[in-house]
Symmetry: C2
Subunit: 282 residues, 2 copies
Amino acid sequence: MPSRRLTVEIINVGNELLDGRTLNTNLQWLCGRLSALGFIVKRAVIVRDDITDISASIREAIRRKPRWLIISGGLGPTHDDKTLEGVAKAVGKKLKVSDEALELIREHYERMVEKGLIERVELTSARIKMATIPQGARPLRNNVGTAPGVLLRKAGVKIVCLPGVPSELQDIFNNELYPLLLTESRGRKFITKRITVRGVLESSLSPLIDEAMKRFRGVYIKSNPRGFEGGESVIDLDFIVGVSGDDKRAEQLISEAESFLLERLSYGGKTNEGDQPQRHGK
Amino acid sequence: MPSRRLTVEIINVGNELLDGRTLNTNLQWLCGRLSALGFIVKRAVIVRDDITDISASIREAIRRKPRWLIISGGLGPTHDDKTLEGVAKAVGKKLKVSDEALELIREHYERMVEKGLIERVELTSARIKMATIPQGARPLRNNVGTAPGVLLRKAGVKIVCLPGVPSELQDIFNNELYPLLLTESRGRKFITKRITVRGVLESSLSPLIDEAMKRFRGVYIKSNPRGFEGGESVIDLDFIVGVSGDDKRAEQLISEAESFLLERLSYGGKTNEGDQPQRHGK
């Protein structure tokens, strides 16, 4: 049995996942990321857009006391986005407009104004709905879409809600959740290596990262885009492997995943081979 | 709320579904088929290869009283195939070698002998394990692989176990389960139309059927291979649409799905346009 500290349960919300319309790729993506960080996904539950079903599945999960409960889907602006109502009901909190969440949403629309995509920021009631989260919860920045993620805690279980749109789910996971999960794993040792890739867009890199992580299980690959330098996209890639004793095996795994990735990139040119693998933790 | 009569829950068993290795395509496939027959999939649960987790998830599902509980995965010959142990524990039955299941497995290996793939039928302990099912359960023929499906009943819930290999799951669903589900739906009206497709292998047709069913939700398409006639593969295709009043709309839907399918087949030649759509039920 894994220690409770590293257990996770997942709840995916959405009628489209239960009527054949949509293949649940979010579950596989989350499971791959979590496994590479040493977490054990104990159970996943898929429920419909129904407040009673959502809150029941959350209550049941909390009773099993996983360290983390990750919920995806149903955070959007429309009436059938009911996840946060379900969460509020399950944890016994009221829903309230969060100033911090509203600020994140305002910033999102301000960026759209700057890009000339819309004329001005209007906080319509549909948009305010996305800032309406359970009392005491913390919003998580969404760099890709509008709806912030939500983080809260109940009975020792950390609950995080992510949007169902894969690019938004992945953005919040990588930028907001990943640092927290890595901290949780303290006590585990990690070997890391950073390389820098130039001249490749993150959107081209990201499916290759997925492929490498699926092939080299146990390797977590985090991309940190640095933006454009001299007209070129620059991305730092961190390879992270949890180790339980054998550093050499971990370094080997990183080196294999790195070679695989660079080969699949048909990489002509410039990486900063940079760092030797570094060891963290005890 | 749907009437209880048409509710289904699904449990997918397998570590590979929770560690990022495998995308759960079985769930989408099952949900598409069930929805087209008018069933509502209320919940899906994915658990690891662990007897306690499997039996707990089954007990919880039975308590919610769906009409059907469909379980996939973990029916194979190896030690980590634990689904039937979990089922037996959940329903309070002993596991027992079923003569009927053993006969299905013997027939499977006899077919392999006929094809010259193996020399003789040997019922090893691994093979006998696949015939070891909960007392009172009925085995379901598997035309593609070895492990039979299993059908049983507990507290008014019909429980069916299918192998996790997609081609085997689909074979047992289409040939053994589908007729039962259609009977369950009596009281609903169905419009059906049969066409015959010649010169196309079922393996080529089957992804197109999946595509058509995804695009035209509500249309169930069942393929009935008739084997080879005059050196040509012959397949009868039944288009089935449940109707709640408007026959015209159902006929329209069938005709759209049929056109779509034939077009995607880039069909040069021969269909038996045959039947007018027929109405069944009340």
